[in-house]
């Protein structure tokens, strides 16, 4: 096993996705200097609601949308800034993504990329955020039905929670890194509502084993697992464009079968390690400590290929 530490480099594509800002992710993900933002920060389209709560606003409301090139192909991209209000969906934050998806129907890009980094709905604008999430999901299915892949990238600090998790589930293809978490209810939410016996949110190994990138990839909830670098996400996004499934009855029937089979096969499990064992992983306890290369080798060694209809 290769235990070499992370390389030290200032090259943008070697930067940690997890640590990078939303803008830095976009800059490194897309071809150099090709990103053009819509409703840029200089327009100061900020939340009209946060001042009521005496909270500071951001020029972009934590959502950056625009166009750029990915290996020469025109794409539209949206990135959430997980450090601003936990990347949560508010009125403007959500409306920018709605607009981007609607624009996709008009400009027909090669793909729409969504760089998730969100705790879900912004409570201070809960109704607007919740409604925007519904609009986004509807728009995604329309974009997909028009033959344009919508690809989600998950590896930020805030993870992809709440309504963000549902939007991700609507995408045609998901790329996730080890640090990425994908779920509906967060650990703290479950603990608050159901008690620490149900979910001990301080047991971070449990959190990642249940919601983290490796588990989601093994389970089939994400299509690609990548190292935590901007470059790795870029490569995976590129590879995803031709692979994305169409949005039609056949795809959803396949997904229905996939999800029913999962319940049938794993419905009685309590812990991710049991699921991994049933998938044919010889040493489930060792999975969390595997490097990206080690994990890739594990994926290759598993008896079944991936079947990711979504």
């Amino acid at each position: 096993m290769d235990w070499k530490p992370v390389a030290l480099s200032a090259e943008s594509r070697d930067q940690s996705w997890y640590e990078a800002s939303a803008r830095a992710r976009l800059a490194g993900l897309l071809d150099v200097d090709t990103f053009q933002e819509f409703i840029g920060p200089e327009q100061r389209q900020m939340s009209p609601h946060l001042p009521l709560f005496a909270l500071p606003r951001a020029f972009d409301d934590g959502m950056i949308v625009g166009r750029g090139r990915l290996d020469g192909r025109d794409v539209l991209a949206a990135a959430q800034e997980g450090r601003f209000m936990g990347g949560a969906f508010g009125e403007i934050h959500g409306a920018k993504l709605v607009g981007l998806l609607r624009a996709a129907l008009a400009v027909k890009p090669a793909a729409v990329l969504i760089l998730f980094d969100t705790g879900g709905v912004r409570l201070q604008e809960a109704n607007a955020g919740e409604t925007a999430i519904a609009e986004i999901m509807r728009a995604i299915t329309q974009v997909r039905a028009a033959g344009i892949p919508v690809i989600g990238l998950i590896g930020g600090r805030a993870g992809c929670y709440g309504g963000g998790g549902l939007i991700a589930g609507t995408c045609a293809h998901l790329v996730i890194s080890e640090g990425g978490r994908l779920s509906v209810s967060g650990p703290e939410v479950i603990e608050t509502n159901k008690g620490a016996e149900e979910f001990d949110s301080r047991d971070r190994a449990l959190v990642w084993r249940t919601m983290g990138g490796k588990h989601r990839r093994l389970l089939g909830a994400a299509d690609a697992f990548v190292a935590d670098t901007i470059g790795a996400f870029r490569e995976a996004a590129l590879a995803a464009i031709p692979e994305a499934p169409s949005f039609d009855l056949a795809t959803l029937e396949a997904e229905q079968a996939r999800l029913e089979a999962r319940l049938e096969r794993f419905g009685d499990t309590r812990d991710a390690t049991e699921i991994w064992g049933r998938l044919g992983v010889n040493d489930p306890a060792a999975v969390p400590s595997l490097t990206t290369e080690g994990f890739d080798a594990l994926l290759d060694s598993l008896p079944e290929g991936s079947h990711h209809a979504r």
Partner: protein, 548 residues
């Protein structure tokens, strides 16, 4: 006729009373309260082992379960007030008087109880002081200690967290006291004998393994650009300047940043082998990249750190380990080493005043001292020279024959000018003074005295207090690195520029450091997971530090 054996007789009587609760030396955990009620007498001096790391928690619960009608007015003489039970016993009337050293998480409650008169305070000590007094005037009658395992003869294996145990046992067992140990398991043969069985009277098999706080784990993911900038300044402006090889680090994020910059930034400066080779330090996970890169010759430890056992076992050239392979730590020896054999201490604090006195006390928290004042003081008993020590002594100046001038230990405060919630680190007057007034303390709880501090490093620059010749200069040197705090904004700008011209104040640009280069990509590890990778999978971080 004089009875010279009164203490011994009293000890024998305690043992006789306790025997019915034990099978030989072995006591089931269910009988702890019975055992303690049989051994203890009102007014006893008791050491309930616990410091900033391991805790004799099973025995603490047992003591708190004693009947105050039978066990009362104890005088607790112990390193740490850490567990709730440590203070519960004062509320219950089981204990009355307290001499201690460190109180971290209970700092707020202890302040309230001191203020409310529920605790009769002897003094707040440094570790070494308290250990010293165990042998002079605070010798325990009963010691309640913690170990990993014991055999039926009482031979004790403390595991990597040996810490205070040998010191406490030495003072108690050899002066007619009774020693009770809690262990995680009774075994046929202990992996190594840390405490010989003839010093242990009773062994309690604890219901749960003793608690250890992972106090020395700093997540590299939380190191900020400002801390990286300060670490760069410390490395270039102090470590390189004085050629510091033998040192001790505090536990803050600033010193963690230094540790994480050794294999990167310091390596680029060509300092490998020139600095930071010999350490008095707990096994900080953030030092793993420097160890793996060949920077570190050896480390002696106060205690251990959760998750580091396997790594330490695999690096016996670096760490002190026993015949069984695991770490042997010893707080008393390591404190002594830090005091006498290190040329530099660098650590953080909460408040620094205009003279350079520093304190971690705020008006409603008494955190105690732990070991920092031992490390962070200039030992007047030191006689061996080193280049570092001599250079610092020279800078401090003085008159007379140079061969009669002692050197100076470097004591560096690494502080960001503002702490959490924009609380300034630089103040006109320490909160410790107000606390001392409220509690009628003769001495204000000062962590590092002004005359021991040699340098203050902030994000604004380095103040070299050794070079200051007057109190005014010293004040302006401190103001000159105090940033935008009230103290910093109250500086005499012209005087500060003069101090800068004399090299008493050095800005990042004076050191050839561009603040915009202070980037997280300079860190040898940017996450706990990176540390695991550096360790070759040997470091096993506790669950709360994982994000995988």
């Amino acid at each position: 006729m004089m009875d010279w054996r009164q203490e011994r007789t009293a000890r024998d009587a305690r043992l006789v009373r306790a025997r019915p609760h034990a099978d030989g030396k072995i006591v089931p955990s269910a009988r702890v309260v019975d055992l303690l009620e049989a051994i203890l007498q009102p007014g006893d001096r008791v050491c309930l082992e616990g410091d900033n790391q391991k805790q004799a928690d099973c025995l603490a619960r047992g003591l708190s379960g004693c009947d105050p009608a039978r066990v009362h007015d104890l005088h607790m003489v112990q390193s740490g007030i850490v567990l709730p039970e440590h203070l519960d016993i004062f509320e219950q009337g089981i204990a009355r008087r307290l001499d201690y050293s460190y109180s971290g998480p209970q700092g707020g409650r202890i302040a309230k109880m001191l203020y409310g008169g529920q605790i009769e305070l002897g003094a707040v000590h440094t570790y070494l002081e308290l250990f010293a007094r165990y042998f002079i005037d605070l010798t325990p009658n009963v010691a309640l200690i913690a170990g990993v395992s014991a055999d039926r003869d009482g031979n004790l294996y403390t595991g990597p967290n040996t810490e205070d145990t040998p010191t406490v046992v030495e003072a108690t067992a050899f002066k007619n006291g009774v020693v009770v140990a809690q262990v995680n398991e009774i075994v046929d043969r202990v992996p190594r004998v840390d405490i010989p069985g003839d010093r242990v009277d009773f062994v309690v098999e604890a219901d749960t393994p003793f608690y250890v706080e992972p106090l020395f784990t700093r997540d590299p993911g939380a190191v900020t650009e400002t801390q990286i900038l300060m670490a760069m300044m410390a490395i270039k402006g102090i470590y390189a300047e004085y050629g510091i090889r033998r040192l001790n680090h505090g536990i803050g994020f600033g010193t963690a940043a230094i540790e994480l910059l050794l294999p990167t930034y310091a390596e680029r400066l060509g300092l490998k082998g020139q600095i930071a080779t010999h350490w008095a330090l707990n096994p900080h996970p953030s030092l793993i990249p420097a160890i793996e890169s060949g920077w570190v010759k050896q480390i002696h430890c106060f205690g251990s750190e959760v998750g580091m056992d396997k790594y330490i076992r695999a690096r016996p050239d670096v760490f002190f380990t026993g015949s069984d392979g695991s770490l042997r730590s010893n707080r008393a020896f390591c404190q002594t080493a830090g005091l006498y054999a290190c040329d530099l201490f660098i650590g953080s604090t909460l408040q620094i005043d205009l003279q350079g006195h520093s304190s971690t006390v705020t008006t409603n928290r008494v955190a105690g001292f732990g070991g920092a004042p031992n490390m962070g003081s200039d030992p007047h008993g030191r006689r061996h020279p080193s280049d570092t020590w001599m250079k610092a002594g020279q800078e401090a100046g003085g008159t007379g024959d140079p061969a009669l001038r002692r050197g100076r230990k470097l004591v560096v405060q690494l502080v960001e000018t503002f702490g959490d919630k924009l609380v300034p680190a630089f103040v006109e007057r320490l909160d410790a003074l107000e606390l001392a007034r409220k509690l009628n303390l003769e001495l204000a709880p000062v962590m590092v005295y002004a005359d021991d501090v040699t340098h203050i490093v902030t994000e604004e620059g380095i103040a070299n207090l050794l070079l200051c010749r007057t109190l005014d200069e010293r004040e302006q040197a401190i103001r000159g690195v105090a940033g935008y705090t009230d103290v910093g904004r109250g500086r005499d700008h012209a005087e500060v520029e003069r101090l800068r011209a004399r090299g008493i104040i050095r800005r990042p640009e004076d050191l050839g450091i561009e603040p915009l280069d202070a980037d997280r990509s300079l860190l040898a590890a940017r996450s706990i997971k990176d540390l695991v990778h550096w360790s070759g999978g040997l470091y096993e971080p506790p669950a709360k530090f994982r994000n995988w």
